[in-house]
Amino acid sequence: MALDDRKSEFTFVGTRPDRPDGLDKVTGRAKFGADMSAPGMLHGAILRSPHAHARIVKIDTSKAEEHKDVKAIVTRADFADVPFKPGLEGEFWNVLENVMAGDKALYDGHAVAAVAATSALAARDALKLIEVEYDVLPHVTDVDKAMAADAPVIREGAADYSVPQGMHPNVVRYHESGHGDVEAGFAEADLVIEDSFVTEATHQGYIEPHACLGALGSDGKGELWCCTQGHWIVQKTCAALLGIETSQLRVTASEIGGGFGGKTTVFIEPVALALSRKANRPVKIVMSRSEVFRATGPTASASMDVKIGMKKDGTITAAQGIFRLQGGAFPGAPGDMTAMCAFAPYDLTNVRQVGYDVMSNRPKQAAYRAPGAPMGAFAVESVLDELCNQLDLDPVDVRLKNAAQEGTKASYGPRYERIGLVETLEAAKAHPHYSAPLEPGQGRGISCGFWFNHGGETSVSLALSEDGSAQVMVGTPDIGGSRASMALMAAEVLGIPYENIRVTIADTASLGYNDVSHGSRVTYASGLATIKAAKHAVEKLCERAAAKWGIPVDAVKWQDGCAVPSGPNAGDFDPMPLADITADMGRTGGPISGHFEATPEGAGVSFGTHIVDAEVDPETGKTSITRYTVIQDAGKAIHPTYVEGQFQGGAAQGIGWALNEEYIYGDDGRLQNSIFLDYRIPVASDLPMIDTVIVEVPNPGHPFGVRGVGETGIVPPLAAIANAVSNAAGVRMKQLPMSPPRILAALKANG
């Protein structure tokens, strides 16, 4: 799309005003998923499989039905008949099968039945009265084992067109890309290092468990309130799973208590609606934390082989990676994303990458912040660090030497537009952290990271009020302060104060389709749409001013919140402020609004470089992170404080993933650590302050230069921390998390 309206001097953008929902959120007034209730409301609860893999022989609900407080029970039979297709093509079927098991329970925690009762306790009690007869089947939860010839087959026919002949049926998608001749490249190298790496599945770990309140009638009309990253996908999916028309279901997104990719699909929402339809009363379902861990989307686990050749001067001659990702009992593990992102920071003549999407008896993976990218970066950047160590080269210099720039043919194919990787590396090199001395026992690591960023379907409306204030309706749930960013961008275009703009997350009945708040797309795409919608309104404001002045509309321009005459023959009029035009808009042609809808296609890829210091206790293998610096290209920071927050949050999640977070399965295929006590996300005392540097290399695909910032920040930490820990411990750590038992074992093995 033409960006004839690019802007680089700003009045409002780049300032740091208070967020519009701040007061609600510090007073407890903000309504999150579980905070809504309705007259006559019932409470739902879901019965889940205790087995990793089992045929469901029989479900006897008769005793539960006799419970006096039970008003409805649903099983798979209460959902629509959605067609099965291989791969991601049949995603509705995959989601339905995940939401409520069909013939088989495919993982520990898989939903098999649900109850609605007059209280939450009664619903839980009633679950215990449902008798399920299982025929337990062999299971597999490890990615390498799931690909082995003797692995139990999760589902025949799930593989799509991409999978080469002869692979195990659990391999359901395959990706291969690259360019040049890697063998020739390895032959040119002075040193080639090839190594294998493993990462465990982690959970997005949002503090708000999934919650929803649904009402659906036998007339096919429904209402749904839920915490989600995207209520249109909820609307579309629920309608498909329940066999109703999409437009008859109105979905309102609550305030959302974190998502990080994990709330981009549905789990309990169709169940609440099915129960509601059966009971003819509103039904609320709130997941427990244990249900969140067992039955919502963790990320994929990975097993990876990376081989890189380098010359003595640091030039990379060839790079190859094989990335096997396990995404639970459904297609979707982002092996393709891992492969495409792994080498993306570098300008490579010879590169080849292969990604596998493998099924196992685990919950269906969901996106988690730059899905797939952190694992690949861990493997690649670890090998790069080892090459630097062995060739005695500075790790930042080597990355600078090989860094991708504008015009570089990316490892995944296309050529880059203007990008900011070099700028982040130069900032890293100049940062005092990089040259600060280390204490004994400490090590320093650096890593680069890449993420594509995303545009996506977007629709925004803006309406002006008579008093000259503006309301903006956007369709992307605000997870981290995006209402403030939207208001800043609208203020910039309209020329009215930030405080005079109210941004609302519209429900599905109030706006056209909006893609999910994911892919770091909100500030980019909803921002772009907000800017365009505001410009649309400005055009109308100029028309009204022209009519009032009696001059042609092209003789009016918009400046600092006022219509002003433009050009030599426009006439001599005082600037007409926005509020003067809206004051009598009812009498001068009616309401003034702006609208914009599109799929913006210039998201602009993003790079970051992280520096981290770690200290390892050689006697116990315990690691502490002593210093952390995030440097990332934001294109243009609309609200810099929230950009910093995204950087810091990404780093913190990466620290958890690198050091302690993991899905631990027992031999029985059951998840062992489904509470926050045992699934160890970082606590306040685990972390240092996290320093940030915002690099601004404007994205040519956004009027203000915005690049998304939400996801790239979690790509470098795994590798940066692994490099720091490896350098501190004197032994290369190849498995995440680098928990103390693993570090101590590596230290012992190393003598």
């Binding site: 116990t620 315990k622 631990i664 160890r680 928990s739 103390p740 101590l744 074992a745």
Partner: protein
Amino acid sequence: MEFHSPTSFAEASALAAKATGITRFLAGGTDVLVQLRSDLVTPDTLIDIKKIDGVGKITCNADGSWTLGVAVTGAEMSEHPELGRDWPGLVEAMDLIGSTQVQGRATLAGNLCNGSPAADSVPAMVAAGVTMTVTGEDGTREVAVEDIPTGPGKTSLAKGEVVSAVNIPARGDNGGDAYLRFIPRTEMDIAVVGVGVNLRLDGDTITEARVSLGAVAPTVLLVDACAEAIIGSTLDDAALDALAAAASAACNPIDDKRGTITFRTEVAGVLAKRAAKIAYARAKGEDL
């Protein structure tokens, strides 16, 4: 579930004695409520003992020993100036359990009766020689802490018996205690290994010692071999190595989500040394 709030231990004991099904006493509730909520244990009878007179008191007796009510929380122990001066290791062990919020509720008796081998306060109590007063239908008896847990989630308390007081010995002269645990984070974890050390000096020489290990066996262990390794020494390197070896040798752990057998065995020795050094310094009057 029936809920009772008796006003005496005799009443509490009687309620428990006649109850059928699963009975739990509710002090801080930080374990009972978690088990209730997760449907692990849903008691048929829950007896809240916090309405009983005196359960919130910390008393220093004339002989220097201490009596703590069973509802005294970790936070109250940490805030008590003299208790922490006498038994810093014990107070710190209690303080390690959970968050500030959990400290506002959790109790020594609850931590003990939950029966977890990884309970942080228990090795510290064992090392300190703490006893529990137990009230049953036939009156009260005094039981050493190490004799109460019999396995994960199990205790030696009979039906109708309830812990009614915590008795901490007099500190006496030239003594010091310490408790260290290993967790992967800095807070909010269950001990992977825990070590409590309590010792007394004559000059520079250790004359008495009790060393206790947590999370390395089905119950918290009182390890005589550890004590023997350092008694008679000035905690020189040889004694420390012997202590570490004895600690590791006493371990009988499992591989689980929190740690491996190898790791626990190794780290038990490491922590035993570190804890002994702290206890020794405290016995010397150094402020740690």
